[in-house]
Symmetry: C2
Subunit: 651 residues, 2 copies
Amino acid sequence: MVSGTEKADAVERDEVHGATNGFASATDGLCKTNDSLCNGVSPFVSLKNKINNRVQSKDPWFSLEFFPPRTEKGAANLIGRLDRMRDGNPLFIDITWHPAGDPGGDKITSSTKIAGTILNYCGIDTMLHMTCCNQTRETIMKNLEKTKSLGIRSILALRGDPTGDEWEMNENGLNYSSDLVELIRQEYEDYFSICVAGYPKGHPDCSSYKDDLVNLKKKVDAGADFIITQLFFQAEEFLKFQSDCRKIGIQCPIIPGIFPIQTNRSLVQLTKLSKLEVPEDVQKIIEPIKDNDAAIRNFGIDYATDMCRELLNSGEVLGFHMYTLNLETATISILENLGLWQQKISRPLPWKISGNHERQANEQVRPIFWGTRPKSYIHRTQDWDEFPNGRWGDSANPAFGDLKDYHLFYLRSRTPKEKLRQQWGEKLESESDVWKVFSQFLSGDKNEKGIQIKETPWNDDGIAKETDTMKDFLTKYNALGILTINSQPNINAVSSTHPVFGWGDEGGYLFQKAYLEFFIKREYAEALKKILPKYEPRVNYHMINREGNEDYTNADRQTPNAVTWGIFAGKEIIQPTVVDPVSFICWKDEAFGLWIEKWAKLYEPETKSRAVIENICNQYYLVNLVDNDFPKDSILWTVLDEMLKTAGVKF
Amino acid sequence: MVSGTEKADAVERDEVHGATNGFASATDGLCKTNDSLCNGVSPFVSLKNKINNRVQSKDPWFSLEFFPPRTEKGAANLIGRLDRMRDGNPLFIDITWHPAGDPGGDKITSSTKIAGTILNYCGIDTMLHMTCCNQTRETIMKNLEKTKSLGIRSILALRGDPTGDEWEMNENGLNYSSDLVELIRQEYEDYFSICVAGYPKGHPDCSSYKDDLVNLKKKVDAGADFIITQLFFQAEEFLKFQSDCRKIGIQCPIIPGIFPIQTNRSLVQLTKLSKLEVPEDVQKIIEPIKDNDAAIRNFGIDYATDMCRELLNSGEVLGFHMYTLNLETATISILENLGLWQQKISRPLPWKISGNHERQANEQVRPIFWGTRPKSYIHRTQDWDEFPNGRWGDSANPAFGDLKDYHLFYLRSRTPKEKLRQQWGEKLESESDVWKVFSQFLSGDKNEKGIQIKETPWNDDGIAKETDTMKDFLTKYNALGILTINSQPNINAVSSTHPVFGWGDEGGYLFQKAYLEFFIKREYAEALKKILPKYEPRVNYHMINREGNEDYTNADRQTPNAVTWGIFAGKEIIQPTVVDPVSFICWKDEAFGLWIEKWAKLYEPETKSRAVIENICNQYYLVNLVDNDFPKDSILWTVLDEMLKTAGVKF
């Protein structure tokens, strides 16, 4: 998928808010291991082992730290950001603990909720910070249970910041992060990978650097698997720290926390909280440009790049933990400079797999319908314990959850209504105005207002790359009122490393049957019904109206049709995408619903524009077509031509 | 598979023995329906519906009646005969009830046992006769339960013959076949398809033709699904009978029982039992040639062919029930004359599916290893309630049953030991004598004694057709001591109607990975181990010795490799054959065991010949190789060449 909004556009500049627990306390670093994000369908690989594998394979990597946004809009933007940043292949995402923001709660802005959403809906392995001071053991246990129930299996265990100015011992509670580490190990054994923070300059509350090292050793001995360091300004600081750790017997991976200087304001705030001093030479450079954000950011990028390069060259560092401040530009630039930003992801399956370990181990097939709305699919199947596995038809299909709310923060478009109206029409006079929107979305041509249409209600992430290969056909047919919302070309024994179609292990062969899904008006549907028998059994079809009282198919109503499959060395056939007739009935409601929820509601009730969309929703048919004869050129265009001719359309 | 022994050779001429219940009582005819034998993996289609479907589609068919042989050897021969006759595509096999032969028992010659074996091991739908007179209700229920437990779902309900000369009423038991029909319907509802016998000339014990028709109506009203008639000699006899049946309201299919006159002796015996008179014109023809079996058989073929043709032409008959007398020549000739003997079977899967409805509904994948020994596979998995389904690795593999007895009557070669020694060597001096046997088996060349080698211990049914395409390669390598026991060529998108490779629905595409399985001596195995890493990951291998203490593979030990799969319209991928590493360990014992059980034991203990075979069994390795790159020419020959070179063999 090519995302429509790649720029650091609408991100909410939450900046570093009050209690930056995660932030002020996360940090120390070296790294290890060999399992890139999201690439083991199963079996589950713990974060501890992923890092250790990288150490073994000497394959460099990075992770990204974010804090929970303060608003629902900020949360939606963060999810959008992570959908994009996922493409760079971070080993994991790290979400800080925000005590003031109900961190263990169910608010959209709760730390736990945000971390769970990233894991489950963005499909990236996710670590959650957690603090222990000023909390009862019961609260901590509740938070741990919640974390577990969301599928999160990595925790950065922190003490947390004092409520007053000074930290005070709590005789009945947990006082140190080592207490929290101990509690987690005691209650959950190896279920969680546990990270602790290291301080290259010593913890600000600690009497001495040496005492702090002893303290860190204690945390590791309590069961921590790896260390992330607080930010620092000189490579040698980290290297000395790491070497000192090794000397007192700390053997686990230590990962340097990298802070890209992005604005003077955030730098000042950060160093104040962390009680670190900015080196003189840095201060000297920043002072004259401190009001020029762009200049500071560029300096920050260069500075961090140099430091990271020095660390890499030392041979003592393989991975970097990036304090992103919820921004992407500086972080991506540094990682690009270092060659760590890997735009080419190896996809284990043609659809984005979830980061949730249970889902990874169980889920191997999805219906093609939600291909452009994967988050909705995950949402509607979130309660499933078992997934149709290999053979979809065999499992008694668990029921799809209702999609009651089309506006869940991780489902909704991040484009404001005003901008959507600019794309889809300020005022719609007729159905053909709508046809034009579909056609222009595909062609990339600007509309009358000079606006390029970058999304439709059915395509969260813009146009998929493979759609490009059919762009001219699709543009033409959409202009004629065949409103396509999903499609794939047929492919025959394409390499599994193909830049557009590739997924799965190297050396495999991939296949697809041509697929088209579209809305058409009743007259077209009648014509289609007339001509389809000529194409049996080559073409399978399913057509249905909104009510479901018109429902035609030539397929077995229980049997899925595999439309994407791969053949690999030493494996069974993998068939990750099917046209499943049972799910189609369910998808139908969502697909028709999007007309109303996402489009009609952009306009006031009783307006012509709204009536045009509502009429389409009520009158049109949703149709899917599969050309089973995958080695031959797709016959679906011929079918459409004949349908149009039969309907008396001249084209 | 091409069977080695196609002639009506060793069949035991059991002839018509004493109580020919099934025979003397089976008969009347018209027919109906549309589901050919063995072609629905699932769902289950009852025999009643198969026949009705044929009536609907006006597609002619035939069924074959056999009686249980009296000896174990006879039973083995009958199974061999049915393996061959299955190729003609009978709608079902019908096994008579032999009261004197412990018909409901577990003897190899018991009617129930024979019927169950044909159903489960030959993969043909099977009907069993059952009588009710002179038996307690308990015995009858026991027989019905046994029948059900074997998977048989069709019963021909008969009264049975009297114990004395005259039939006597039994006040406490079941006296008429209508009683038995009623009992079955009452206890099993629609579980069984029920057939009853019709008598075109009236039952010999019945007072009049008319009374007998009323009696037949009673049987149908009690719940019978169709009727098979007693033999008759004139087409009009049957047509009149059928018309009379219709007149009194018998609406179910009536199938004519066809008796090919084969010898004068059997004709006399039969007519005596059935109290039928042979028409004068037949008698006149037979009298002068009555001692010339061949002449009588030829007459019988012509006579039955003419009669059947007349029935077909009447438009009132679609199916024929053939009284084979356990012989095949005459029956096949008649069916060939009528165009009903269909040599080209449509195979639902590449391996012969079982006739057992539960197995049909459950079983979709088999390991390739038993491809040449399907009956052994069925035997060793007969207790499985669930079969690895689609995805082999997912089910906790049920355990394979032990193969304690290599000489089960349906598993063993029907060739006498003496003839096997003539093929495989009266006296073996060295391993290369054994190599020659393998090579000559494949080439078809005769051995020194002028004998053609038609079987090996690992190939029940001779050489598979697809092996032909690799014959030259295989002959060459076997002569060099690479003793192949299983193989398949790679195929890439071959049509599902291909004469050699075809299976499954029309219009599908079939694929195979090249596969080779062979025994080699230790020196070869060492060389192979050395060179195989060069071919990774393209080639998967598994090599193991008899003890299992040497066991090498580059495949995941839990993951099967799909080596045969098919893509069809509107379906999921079908992958019926896999190289399953778990089953291979189990197959290994059987494959090595065959050296001893089937070959070494042909020779006296302490002989050189026996020692040669035992030594091979103890020293050789069993190897399988898969070339995963199915679109390219098989690389396995290259691997073998390099192995031979590395082992210093000049060739």
